[in-house]
């Protein structure tokens, strides 16, 4: 008799737990910014992709033949000046943060010490406005002059493409192709094209407990 009651109570309690449970505990672990711990959570573009692609492509860029050609043509040791033209998203992935990715590219290029980087497209206005302000408000000795900007020798455009395939259910493939194009500002000649591909197979199970 007693065991029947326990069984019945247990039966209803299981259903109550199933029906009414909702809380999910959260745990946070601080990691090194370059760590890949946690890995891919959703299959979409993430900080690991941005870091790896930026490092690979900028490594290709500063190691390619165009640099030697630039030194030869300029007959000196003037490092080439590059202007970043931003990241174009040709993808369905809203995780691609062009600011985050663009900054990684900028950092790797600057830290390579082999090229010079001028304010990226969209950022030049800040300093132009500051010089205008200084011309009115700053002392004559400290005012920075206009028309003294460093002209870019090259522009660098980054394009993120993606292509997906799905079985219509839980399996899909996400492929990213990131291209960088370096264009000589004076001649409009494309002097270097870099490419880095990423492919991810995503399997989402149909059932869980």
């Amino acid at each position: 008799m007693r065991s029947s009651l326990i069984l019945i109570a247990a039966f209803f309690m299981i259903f109550e737990t199933v029906a009414c449970s909702s809380s999910t505990p959260r745990r946070v672990t601080r990691t090194n910014p370059t760590s890949v711990e946690g890995g891919d959570l959703s299959g979409y573009w993430n900080d690991i992709d941005a870091g790896q692609v930026a490092q690979t492509l900028t490594g290709q860029l500063v190691g390619a033949g165009w640099l030697a050609e630039h030194y030869r043509a300029s007959a000196g040791d003037e490092r080439p000046v590059i202007k970043l033209m931003g990241v174009i998203k040709r993808t369905d992935d809203r995780n691609v943060n062009e600011q985050f990715f663009g900054k990684q590219i900028e950092r790797f290029l600057l830290n390579s010490g082999r090229v010079r980087v001028v304010a990226a497209a969209g950022q030049e206005g800040i300093n132009t406005r500051e010089r205008e302000r200084q011309s009115v408000h700053a002392s004559d000795e400290s005012t920075k002059t206009q028309q003294n900007e460093l002209g870019a020798d090259y522009t660098l455009q980054t394009i993120v493409n993606s292509q997906n395939e799905t079985d219509g259910g839980g399996r899909s493939v996400r492929a990213y192709l990131v291209n960088m194009e370096l264009v000589n500002v004076e001649t409009q000649e494309k002097v270097w094209i870099g490419e880095k591909a990423i492919r991810k197979v995503i399997a989402q199970s149909r059932a869980r407990w």
Partner: protein, 453 residues
């Protein structure tokens, strides 16, 4: 009655109350929001919704909550916040592709509404309309394009899922209106070939699915889009074919090349159909209370008024682009038999389990105490199953009944823009929207408007 028997009865009663469906509260809450919606006070709707999380919308209704809040914030012109909550809805819908076995069991033996609401395909597709418009309204064309491509990827997934299955379980296999939107955004982004292909898909979806199944013919403006995109993509043979289909097809291309700006007004009109519960409760001779609950879909009263766009001195009537009502009602009808069969099977399982437990407790009926407990369990089990039985009547309740579109090419300049409601005969009824806009040469200006009546 021994204390242990009483404890079982109290436990059953407590659990029955604890598990009661929230659907009725949600329906009532929708009615409470309606006056603000009619007034066009979407700020008030969004504010109210913010406080409803956990109160009206429980954890299993979270997709509904995010969708409803997203649409309210969109029409309150809080585009960034709207996208943030719609992204959450999308993430939840993606995650909920993985079915919870415990919820599935609960759905089969306890009640339909025990399962977390995953959203319908059309609801997910339409959520991309709002995320796209949100990005456009924030002047973020790149992000609007990402949203359009995301919609495209989801429609591709649907295409693969339903290929060769003859639309198994659904009539809604593609969304013609969203395909048009994808084409339009891709064209704005300069991807002319992809834009053209999206317009072609939209045209096919209107002809093959929307016209025959949902009574929505292909809008007349689409031929102009097809012609223009074909020319821009260098597909001159195909452009000639579209021109042959409609002699006005080249008008929009001429306007574009003349540097005209285009105004596109997307009007969400009316109220989407809602679901209500129909239930049958009957006591059986042995005291067991049998209850079967099934959902019914109810369309809001038919929309008889039309809409007209006035831009300066130019006038154009809106065209129907998407009928949410037709999609929701016809799709539900297609699935109705399965839902009914599941409800009956669930009632039979609950009855069978209760009967087996109560008979097991009674034993050979030589002990009057056990017999009494068995009878109590039979009644209590019936009460419990009746209390938890509920139809799943959840849906994206704040969606409009339909989307209408009006488009106009005009020279650059300042314009007074008005959307008015007109009777079937074309007489003025009321002004729905009014704005002053300034258009630049070649600009594409998209306006999102909501009206209820």
């Amino acid at each position: 009655m021994k204390p242990t028997y009483a404890a079982v009865v109290i436990l059953i009663a407590f659990l029955s109350i604890g598990c009661r469906s929230q659907a009725g509260f949600i329906r009532q809450y929708r009615q409470d929001l309606r006056p603000s919606m009619v007034r066009g006070d979407w700020d008030a709707v969004a504010r109210s919704l913010k406080t409803s999380h956990g109160v009206v919308y429980k954890n299993e209704d979270r997709v509904m909550y995010w969708l409803n809040r997203g649409i309210a914030l969109h029409y309150a012109r809080k585009y960034k916040a709207s996208s943030e909550v719609l992204f959450r809805a999308e993430t939840e819908m993606q995650d909920l592709f993985t079915k919870s076995i415990s919820e599935e069991i609960g759905k089969f033996v306890l009640t339909e509404s025990i399962q977390t609401y995953t959203g319908e395909d059309y609801e997910r597709t339409i959520s991309y309309l709002y995320t796209t418009l949100n990005a456009l309204k924030q002047n973020r064309l790149q992000d609007a394009l990402v949203e359009a491509r995301r919609a495209d990827a989801f429609l591709q997934k649907m295409r693969v899922r339903f290929e060769g299955k003859d639309g198994l379980g659904t009539l809604y296999t593609q969304d013609a209106f969203i395909l048009w939107l994808i084409g339009y955004l891709l064209e704005m982004g300069g991807d002319y070939t992809d834009a053209y292909l999206a317009y072609v898909d939209a045209q096919e979806a209107y002809k093959k699915v929307y016209a025959p199944e949902f009574g929505v013919p292909m809008p007349t403006y689409l031929v102009g889009d097809l012609y223009r995109a074909a020319i821009l993509a260098g597909r001159h043979d195909e452009a000639a074919r579209w021109k042959k289909e409609n002699s006005d097809a080249e008008d929009s291309y001429k306007a574009l090349t003349a540097g005209y700006a285009e105004v596109v007004v997307i009007q969400g009109h009316g109220e989407a159909p809602f679901k209500r519960e129909q239930n049958f409760t009957t006591p059986l001779p042995d005291g067991y209370l049998l209850r079967v609950a099934i959902p019914q879909i109810v369309a809001a009263p038919e929309i008889k008024s039309g809409s007209r766009l006035l831009l300066g001195r130019s006038v154009v009537d809106f065209e129907l682009a998407e009928s949410v009502t037709a999609i929701a009602v016809k799709n539900f009808q297609k699935r109705e038999k399965g839902i009914k069969a599941r409800a009956i099977a669930r009632a039979a399982i609950k009855f069978g389990v209760t009967k087996a437990v109560s008979e097991g407790v009674k034993g050979d009926a030589s002990d009057t105490g056990r017999e009494l407990l068995g009878n109590l369990l039979n009644i209590g089990g019936g009460l419990f199953s009746a209390a938890v039985e509920g139809a799943d009547i959840r849906s994206w309740t704040l969606l409009p009944a339909e989307f209408r579109l009006a488009r106009m090419w005009v020279p650059q300049g300042k314009y007074s823009l008005q959307v008015i409601s007109v009777t079937k005969s074309g007489s003025y009824q009321s002004t729905l929207f009014r704005d002053q806009i300034e258009l630049e040469r070649g600009q594409r200006h998209v306006v999102s408007v909501r009206s209820l009546q």
